[in-house]
Each structure stands twice: as structure tokens, then as C-alpha cells.
Symmetry: C2
Subunit: 111 residues, 2 copies
DNA sequence: TGGGTTACCCACCAAAAGGTAAGTACTATT
DNA sequence: AATAGTACTTACCTTTTGGTGGGTAACCCA
């Protein structure tokens, strides 16, 4: 255990809170897949949809809305017809990329 | 991006699979809290229950069963009355500890 | 005039996850 | 005889999560 992760009993509650929050942020069937797709470049709604085969539109819209609300993804609508909406992973969203990379390593053993 | 995480389009599908599996393994409202509690020492059922306030017995039993099934936790029953059952995090279970530590860092920003 | 394009919304449904409250088995203790 | 202690099980319920299949607006092009 690294020194800064040592904890007193007083810290345990907040540790639980933080872990629970983090789990909320990264969980869901598609959440990390979407973030991983956005890691390289800004994508339009339709591009994300095609990049995440199997996801329903309802869920995709909902996930994107949540990611924007959480401050992880920036959304830009161009006032065009047909509509053009672009989503990009911002700085806050990028903080979870190491989690994805670590899960890729850890997850291997569970396949 | 570290070199070993560079990926071709052929690898994308398996990457998705691995991420999905990892999410399955670590998600749920209480899963990581339980693992985190078991990080230091073997605990009896009742100790875990008291260590995770708020969890229902049904869910705790179910979670422990799953952790054993996933090969992350070892269970030992002593043939005593009143019963004594001990749970401990094994090597496979310990592979997710770095995920917890990383989530503690990342999660801070989302509180 | 009518279909194509894009990014959604809506009503409804099914499955999974989680919670509640009660009960069980077996023994020791009062 | 009744109670306490331990590690569960069971039936029932609510909430959350995800899926299905339709609809919409606005403009362009044929």
C-alpha cells in the first residue's frame, strides 16, 4: 500500500463515498465503451452510434446526456439541417482513461 | 497511450469484450466496498456485515457468493456452532486493488 | 410532392438489482 | 423453557437499467 493511501478509521467513510461515486461514474453497460471510443477524437452522434454496435438509441442519448452533465463530455450543436452535433471528451472525462487502461489489464484474467 | 495499448481495428472487439467483463466484475453498489474491506485481513460474515453498514443481508450473501464464484474470494466454513465462516481476498481478488486505488484518486473530482 | 438525412423524443415493456421482514438450524446460557 | 448468537434462506416488493418500435422537425434534392 502506498503511503498516501494509508488511512485512519475517520477516513473510511469518505473513502467509501469516493469509491461509490467513482463506481457510479464508470458503471453501466456502455459507459466506458463510449468514453473509450471518444478517446481519440471528437465524434458526431451518428458516428458514436455506429461505433458502439448493439446500444439502443434511447440508452445512447441518455448516456451522452449524463456524460455531459457529469462534465466529462462537451457537446456542440451546429445550427444546421440536417442537424450536426459533436461530442468530445474533455479534461475531466480524460481522467477516467487510466481506469479503462487498468481495467483492460485486470479484466483479462476474468474472460 | 503506452505502446502495448496501441490497437488495430481487429483488436477493438476484444477490447470491448474485456472492458465489459471488467465492468461486470467491479460493478454493483457494494462490490468494491466489500473487496476494500477484505484487503487487510480475513473476516467473518458478521464482521463484513458490520463493516459495510447499509447493505442488506440478501445482497451481502449474494455478493459474497459471486466473489467466490469469480474466484476472487476464498470461503472457509468451520464446523462449529454457532457457525463460523471466514472470507478472504485471494490473489485473483487482489488484482482489483489497484483499480480501487485508482478510482479513489479519480473519484475525488466527481464528489 | 415525396423521400432522404440527422439527432433526437416518447410510451411501453422486460430484466436485473436491490431492499424488507420474516424464518431456520443448532447449541450454549439463563 | 426461553433467549442469544451466527450465518444464512425465502417470499415479496420497488427501483433502476436497458430494450423496442414508433414519431418528430427541418431542409435538400429529385
Amino acid at each position: 500500500m502506498t503511503p498516501e493511501l494509508k488511512q485512519t478509521s475517520e477516513q473510511i467513510i469518505s473513502t467509501e463515498l469516493i469509491i461509490k461515486k467513482a463506481v457510479e461514474v464508470i458503471c453501466g453497460k456502455w459507459r466506458l465503451i463510449i468514453i473509450h471510443l471518444l478517446r481519440e477524437k471528437t465524434l458526431r452522434y451518428g458516428e458514436i452510434k455506429r461505433g458502439v454496435p448493439g446500444i439502443s438509441e434511447k440508452v445512447l442519448v441518455h448516456e451522452l446526456k449524463q456524460l455531459v452533465e457529469l462534465g466529462m463530455v462537451d457537446k456542440q450543436s451546429f445550427g444546421e439541417v440536417p442537424p450536426r452535433v459533436e461530442y468530445s471528451l474533455n479534461e475531466k472525462g480524460r481522467t477516467v482513461l487510466p481506469v479503462i487502461d487498468l481495467l483492460r489489464e485486470v479484466g483479462q484474467a476474468f474472460i
